[in-house]
């Protein structure tokens, strides 16, 4: 019995030195294979402009935009327990901030996108301080109210066109970093190469958000978030800083939404308050995507975004019926498959492409 005692002094020293044969593993074989596949896929996506047309590039940008936004919302709701219906606030603010930086500060558009991302992170702090005073449904309502306030402010601010909005000056986007080089590389017109540069930026942004979210979940912050989701009182009782954990997620999601809002509007070249702060485009569709794909998984939003864009493409001719179908589908999924498409897939196959489980090993072997 004595060798299994919790010796508070000597044992601790011995254990910290790592001579006890215990170790922790997170990755799995599937994960390593998946990483190779993902790496190949990313290389393919980088090279894509060389062999696909402009409309496919646009479709892919649409998917990447939605994956990025959905991943942010997934992190908020699926891991932070924060049901926000006001993420359009950050999309719109990011977009407006980028426009401001290009038009009034004279930044290169890609630098302005970075500035908008940082701006999104900074503005999410006071917004969070305000909305975090509310719980549950009140929090959701509050996030929407805040987004509406920003929409109204944007529509009365004359500097960027007020309610009717404005466009980016041609000179700003045609001189954007990388356009010339890309045009020469692929032997294409500068209007096309502009889109290719934004496509790469969008790809990079998506990768940063997905990989960033995954690494956060693998870190101890991920443990804290899961613990909070399971039982807040117990989490606090073992020292988890609840507000801080939620705040980190909130700032991450705010910065992410601002980043994608800026990129989307850079591609579009115009901005107006109603579309930049649209609750339908930036929150309702995004929630649909996460619900369809699977809340609380990294793959869920990816699957959901692809499915959503496919549905949009094939059902576009049905007009309002298409929206009713989306609504019905979301309800059916929530009732009968709350784990989403990826959740169903994982249940059936046991395959988890982004594992976060920390397994305790002894001498490199897992206990039963």
């Amino acid at each position: 019995m004595s060798d299994t005692h919790l010796d508070t002094s000597a044992a601790k020293k011995a254990f910290r030195s790592g001579t006890d044969g215990y170790s922790v593993a997170v990755g799995t074989r599937t994960f390593r294979i998946a990483m190779v596949v993902f790496a190949l896929l990313i290389i393919g996506l980088i090279a894509a402009p060389a062999f696909v047309g402009r409309s496919q590039i646009r479709d892919m940008m649409q998917i990447m935009l939605l994956i990025g936004l959905a991943q942010c919302w997934n992190l908020l709701a699926g891991y932070g327990g924060l049901i926000s219906v006001g993420q359009q606030a950050f999309v719109g603010l990011g977009a407006y901030f980028m426009f401001y930086c290009i038009i009034y500060v004279g930044m290169d558009p890609l630098v302005a996108v970075l500035a908008a991302t940082v701006g999104g992170a900074i503005i999410s702090v006071p917004i969070g301080l305000l909305t975090f005073r509310m719980q549950g449904a009140y929090f959701a309502v509050m996030t929407w109210v805040v987004a509406e306030v920003f929409r109204i402010l944007a529509s009365i601010y004359p500097g960027l066109g007020g309610g009717t909005g404005t466009g980016l000056p041609r000179s700003a986007t045609s001189e954007m970093f990388g356009i010339e080089a890309t045009a020469t590389l692929f032997d294409m017109r500068s209007s096309t190469s502009r889109e290719v540069v934004i496509y790469w930026a969008m790809l990079l942004a998506m990768l940063v958000v997905v990989i960033g979210a995954y690494y956060m979940l693998r870190s101890s912050r991920g443990l804290a978030l899961m613990a909070i989701k399971d039982d807040e009182v117990a989490a606090e009782s073992v020292g988890v800083d609840i507000t801080r954990s939620k705040f980190i997620v909130y700032v991450f999601a705010g910065a992410g939404a601002a980043l994608f809002g800026a990129l989307y509007h850079l591609q579009k070249g115009t901005i107006d308050p109603n579309s930049a702060f649209s609750v339908i485009d930036w929150t309702a569709y995004v929630i649909f995507i996460v619900v369809i794909g699977g809340l609380g998984t990294i793959m869920g939003p990816i699957v959901g975004a692809i499915v959503f864009v496919l549905l949009e493409t094939f059902l576009a001719d049905f007009g309002p019926w298409y929206l009713m179908f989306l609504g019905a589908l979301a309800i059916v999924m929530m009732l009968f498959a709350p784990q989403g498409l990826w959740g169903i897939f994982t249940e059936r196959t046991g395959i988890e492409l982004f594992p976060t489980r920390r397994r305790l090993l002894r001498d490199g072997k897992e206990r039963p």
Partner: protein, 244 residues
């Protein structure tokens, strides 16, 4: 003195959860708390750990005032607790439950994987390390409550009916473990209805009734106190004589 409560009051409307509670816990001792259901035992733990905020009074831990400190701060100061109804992090594995506690609950760098593994061994959970906590049996959930609290390296361990619902054998095992922990210097405050288990560990006993301490002291003397017999055991001394 490790923990000191002075004139602590807590009310929920007409219900008195703590009525002018003044008590202390010495460093290294094992203290038992008994009382009927609703006597305010769990509320007392919630006041100590900060889950409930006292209406008035003062709570000192390690000599400084923690009356207004958060749950998290008190945990990191060295307060560990188990919940009467186990509250495992169900979607995490047993090991991850402990890892969370070790990562966030330790005030300094006293954590390591090996130590977490050792806590799993002494609490009998080593074979369940990689099992999701939501799939555990009641016994293992109770063990996890204890293990997770230990992973925060507490100086003071507040155990809330940890033996409730266990078989005699399981209960015995738990008692031995708690004795060991106490012998190694962890201060124990234990709320328990299974009196014989409690009395085999604690050296001092407090009895609560409607939020008030009605008796405290050496366990045998306290258990023989007529007030305690009436309140807690439902035994009236007069009736005793009649039966005799």
């Amino acid at each position: 003195m490790l923990l000191q409560l002075t004139g602590v009051n807590k009310r929920f409307g007409a219900v008195v959860a703590a009525d002018d509670v003044t008590m202390h816990v010495e460093k290294g001792e094992a203290l038992g708390i008994i009382g009927a259901n609703g006597a305010g035992k769990s509320s007392l733990f919630n006041l100590c750990t900060g889950v409930l905020k006292a209406d008035s009074g003062e709570i000192k831990f390690h000599g400084h005032d923690v009356t207004r400190a958060s749950v998290r701060e008190r945990c990191r100061e060295g307060m560990g607790r188990s919940f009467q109804i186990p509250k495992p992090f169900e979607s995490l594995t047993v090991f991850e439950n402990l890892l969370t506690a070790a990562e966030f609950g330790c005030k300094d760098d006293r954590r390591s994987i090996g130590e977490t593994a050792r806590i799993l061994e002494i609490t009998g959970l080593a074979d369940k390390a990689n099992t999701e906590a939501g799939k555990l049996t009641l016994l293992n959930r109770k063990r996890l409550e204890l293990a997770r609290a230990l992973a925060t390296t507490p100086d003071l361990l507040l155990l809330d009916e940890i033996a409730g619902g266990l078989t005699e054998g399981e209960c015995h095992e738990l008692v031995e473990l708690i004795k060991d922990l106490n012998a190694q210097g962890v201060t124990i405050v234990w709320i328990e209805h299974i009196v014989h288990a409690l009395l085999s560990v604690v050296s001092r006993l407090i009895v609560l009734e409607r939020g008030k301490i009605i008796a405290q002291g050496e366990p045998k003397a306290v258990m023989n106190d007529p007030e305690v017999k009436r309140s807690y055991l439902g035994i009236d001394d007069d009736m005793d004589e009649e039966v005799a």
